[in-house]
Assembly symmetry: C2
Homo-oligomer: 294 residues x 2
Amino acid sequence: MAEPLFKRLTIIGIGHIGASIAGALKLHPGTVAHLVISDASSTHLKRAEELELGDEYIASAAAAVQGADAVILCTPVGSFAAIAEAIAPYLVSGCILSDVGSTKRSVIRDVSPFIPKDVFFVPAHPMAGTEFSGPDAGVATLFEGRWCLLTPIDDNEEAAAKIETLWQTLGALPARIKAEHHDRVLAIVSHLPHLIAFIICGTADDLADETRDKVLQFAATGFRDFTRIAASDPVMWRDIFLNNKDALLEMLSRFCEDTQAMARAVRRGDANYIEDRINRSRKIRKNLIDIKQA
Amino acid sequence: MAEPLFKRLTIIGIGHIGASIAGALKLHPGTVAHLVISDASSTHLKRAEELELGDEYIASAAAAVQGADAVILCTPVGSFAAIAEAIAPYLVSGCILSDVGSTKRSVIRDVSPFIPKDVFFVPAHPMAGTEFSGPDAGVATLFEGRWCLLTPIDDNEEAAAKIETLWQTLGALPARIKAEHHDRVLAIVSHLPHLIAFIICGTADDLADETRDKVLQFAATGFRDFTRIAASDPVMWRDIFLNNKDALLEMLSRFCEDTQAMARAVRRGDANYIEDRINRSRKIRKNLIDIKQA
């Protein structure tokens, strides 16, 4: 039998992504010899055990990482600094520490200072997820055909290659990108769309009662799609917005300028401007379909 | 055999919605005895004939309505005034004229002046649709379980009841609402979400080349969903935005205020405000799921 990629892998945080990794590992037995699951929530940890997601369940992250040759942080990015500080003294020499956070500059800023010299930190971001949360939301096939962006920070090529192999095994497409570029791209393709979805749901909720009732009754395609995006985990998204502040505010500012221009076009009845913007959107959609990302 | 609801129904405009009505009528034979299809585009009309969507195909709208006891306008709302003017002299006494437009005050404003005294105008809006266009995009089951909003303008109860029966037969849920209220509700549940989707696609398209390439390569859930909404028909949406200008600009202005407040919260790191807004969105989503509109 082939050597496992990791002898002892610890997943910290058994929510939607952590549970999906655990599920995906079951589809690829032998990748990890022993899977340890840790979660600060006793409810989540108990549920993970009921679902038989791992081989061992340990509430304390510091205890859970002991002896592990790989650790993956799967909690909201706002918790990373405290967890890194807590687990750092217990990480064994040669251990690879990785994560699945949606922001990468903040993760490097928060985690790197605590990493012992003989531990390798490989920041990663599997670009997959649904609006559902918790251990029951794990989807074993979640990562198949989806990108996993790695933002390695130093010459830990061997460690980066092992994390790439892990994601490849789970069906993802690994790609490397600089952390700063990652954060700008994610700001526009994911963070801003989610922020806008949250905002417009609030705008609707603020309408006078009679109209608001009808909004719920007659929710049409556009709004329904926005509420679906907006149903995602609050703490996770709060942490993402606060930890990718610069890039997000830049994209938001560009978007607001474009919104003002569109409002002016609607007010003035500038049909050509409006049609041109709509046609550009369709072109982008067509490009996504062409490269099979639609 | 039961009497048909309409002896001769003319659909003007055989795009996504017109073709879906034609398809739905095939699922319910006997509802209409003779279906006439008209379209200013010879390509669309020829395609409708190839797809056998109707019983007769007439390019001229004026010719197509002759002898019809019901006519449904299924073109973009910006074309309604010209079509109403063109067909008015040929509408027979007792004919019911209806439409499927997504704006209702503008439709009443544009169509009513041309309606002969013995013709009944029943504005309607089936709240269904996908991002696809043209006669090939017809979906026979499109209206099943979806609302169809009627905004009758005078005491034409019998005519309104017949249009309600038609939509009920096609599987829709008819409901009556004042035109002004319709336009405000649609502005927030459909028109503003679409406008925002078009804007954010443009914002992404304006980014510097290196980032834009990565935007396409790594399009994540939020952005992908926005591009799907934004793939809808340009002329239809241009017309909707220009014909529901007041309500749309009011909702856009509320949305922009809320966006500024959110930007300030992100800049200041106001975690409570952000989390509160996200939780309100989730509540709306939950409400939609509870009333089965999600």
